[in-house]
């Protein structure tokens, strides 16, 4: 059986899916909470659904990605797996792919729940503008994509670390920094930042290109308010995300293949 399949089976055995379903019970409260809005009930339902999906996927990315490789070493699975004729890099990528496919599956499941909840709410409270399901699908897809990139970082941190602290907290830091990078860059480029020294502004510019830009993957506002999407920007974002993820995984596989696991 492939490493990918073993990983996914392991996650199901760990009852991760059941845990997600319990968390997904919160979706049941969303129709009632949405009615608190004065003028935009379906938009609030979309906000709540998309934020909840974002949050669940984020938790999965951080904890599954951060804990998986560490646990393998702790439970000595790695030692038996590595006697097989498979390179360490392939093993690591297999783990990543297993977690990734599981995450995508959860994203699809939660997306269906979102569609049901939002349809119910908008049937009772028709929106001023029709809901753009294309934008909702795009928002959910890019959110899942962003979480895959976070899993890649978690796997990278796991490949250098012996405990789960660095992978988990490191991934959280990457998430926060990646979310703020666009805002910081815009501020530094604005006239208001002219009082900062040129060195600081130069450094900020360099960091912007190194640190991942997660705000590009946030299409929530387009989904909630049915704003138009630019296909060209989306393609470039997907390309950016793919290249970044592949680069991180190559580094992770390279580091892991040279690591002492004794």
């Amino acid at each position: 059986m492939t490493i990918v399949a073993v990983t996914m089976k392991g996650l199901l055995r760990d009852r991760v899916l059941q845990g997600i379903l319990v968390a997904a019970l919160i979706f049941l409260a969303i129709p009632s909470i949405s009615t608190l809005s004065m003028r935009q009930v379906p938009e609030l339902a979309l906000t709540l659904c998309l934020s909840l999906v974002s949050f669940i996927l984020l938790l999965l990315a951080v904890f599954l990605g951060g804990v998986s490789l560490w646990r393998d070493v702790e439970r000595r699975y790695t030692h038996s797996v590595l006697t097989l004729p498979r390179s360490r890099g392939v093993y690591l990528l297999g783990r990543f792919a297993g977690i990734g496919f599981f995450l995508i599956g959860i994203a699809v499941l939660l997306s269906l729940v979102t569609v049901v909840v939002v349809s119910v709410v908008s049937a009772n409270y028709p929106p001023d503008r029709p809901i753009s399901w294309m934008a909702v699908a795009a928002a959910l897809s890019f959110d899942a994509f962003k979480c895959l990139l976070l899993v890649a970082f978690a796997v990278l941190f796991s490949s250098v670390s012996t405990s789960f602290f660095l992978p988990v907290f490191g991934t959280i830091v990457v998430y926060l920094v990646g979310g703020a990078s666009q805002q910081a860059y815009d501020y530094v480029s604005s006239p208001a930042a002219q009082s900062l020294s040129p060195a600081v502004r130069q450094l900020a510019g360099i960091l912007y290109y190194i640190v991942p830009n997660f705000s590009a993957f946030d299409l929530k506002v387009n989904a909630i308010y049915a704003l138009p999407l630019d296909p060209r920007t989306l393609i470039m974002t997907a390309g950016y995300g793919t290249l970044y993820m592949v680069f991180v995984l190559i580094i992770a596989a390279g580091v892991y293949s040279r690591r002492e696991l004794g």
């Binding site: 809005s37 004065m38 003028r39 974002s54 001023d128 926060l176 703020a180 805002q183 929530k220 909630i224």
Partner: protein
């Protein structure tokens, strides 16, 4: 196992016993209705990168709940307990709209509180014009802005421009007609009633709807006096001395009641005014004439 069950049962009984007194003690705890402070939008954006729309919605719901808890005293006009902290509400609404500039609840609520109660006409209109950059499809924002320009700021030219835009976005010819009419007539009261009725029709929050209805009732009373005054002037060739003369002459059926607790009168320009200035008094006024000042915030 039996030992654990027995001890768990004893603790459970004790818990049930304390539940009653505990709940009563919590009910009696003084609840200070305060809106509090929220962190700067920049900080919130940095710490919650993907959740800005959710944060904006939760900040706005906090403001609305705060306002709702104040408005529940409106069933006894003249007996309002607290004066609302309008600067805090305005700051909070602005912060929420920085996080999510598409949120209609923010603009609707901002317009409701800033204009009538806080008298911040320029601020309210500025907020609406900020919103118009984002909610480019929404006719309600230019509609509100048009009203502010016409009724409060006296800028009939900008008002007509806004109403025309509202007309184009909504496809409603009514707005285009209004744009024309409000430029020609000095009929401010009728314009205000039409505007408030539109708001009240779409209001889903009971506290807001109640506030609007009280204002509509007040303005309808003013309109009745204005119509009586105009009819008196037309028929007798002079303006009435006071409202009592209109009642005596049969132009008004009794003295209209001001829901804000004031008394209507005609000023030196024969415009209809009220001693309440269309707002509830800040202090308690009981029916027996005694009064008590409002508690410090």
């Amino acid at each position: 196992m039996k030992r654990y069950l027995l001890s768990a049962l004893c603790v459970l009984l004790a818990y049930l016993g304390i539940l009653g007194p505990f709940t009563r003690a919590m009910e009696q705890k003084p609840y200070i209705e305060k809106i509090g402070l929220i962190p700067s939008p920049r900080v919130l954006q940095a710490f919650f990168p993907d959740f800005q729309e959710l944060l904006a919605a939760s900040i706005l719901s906090k403001v609305i709940l705060y306002y709702g808890s104040l408005s529940e005293h409106l069933d006894q006009p003249g007996k309002i307990i607290y004066a609302a902290d309008y600067p805090a509400m305005s700051r909070t609404v602005h912060a929420a709209l920085r996080l999510d500039p598409y949120n209609m609840d923010g603009y609707y609520f901002g317009q409701s509180i800033l204009v009538w109660d806080a008298k911040q006409y320029d601020l309210a209109t500025e907020l609406l014009e900020y919103g118009m950059h984002y909610r480019t499809w929404d006719w309600q924002l230019p509609f509100f802005a048009g009203f502010n320009y016409a009724y409060f700021l006296g800028n009939k030219k900008k008002a007509a421009e806004m109403y025309m835009r509202a007309g184009e976005l909504s496809g409603e010819t009514l707005f285009k007609k209004l744009a024309g009419r409000y430029l020609q007539e000095a009929g401010n009261t009728r314009m205000a009633i039409d505007y408030l009725r539109t708001l009240a029709k779409n209001a889903r929050n009971p506290a807001v709807r109640q506030t609007l209805q009280i204002r509509i009732n007040a303005f309808e009373a003013v309109l009745a006096i204005e119509q009586a005054r105009d009819q008196f002037t037309e028929e007798l060739g002079r303006a009435p001395a006071d409202i009592a003369e209109l009642v005596k002459g049969g132009y008004l059926e009794g003295l209209p009641v001001d829901p804000y607790g004031g008394t209507f009168y005609l000023d030196e320009n024969k415009q209809v005014r009220t001693t309440s200035k269309f707002a509830f008094a800040a202090s308690h006024r009981f029916s027996d004439g005694s009064s008590e000042s409002s508690p410090a915030e």
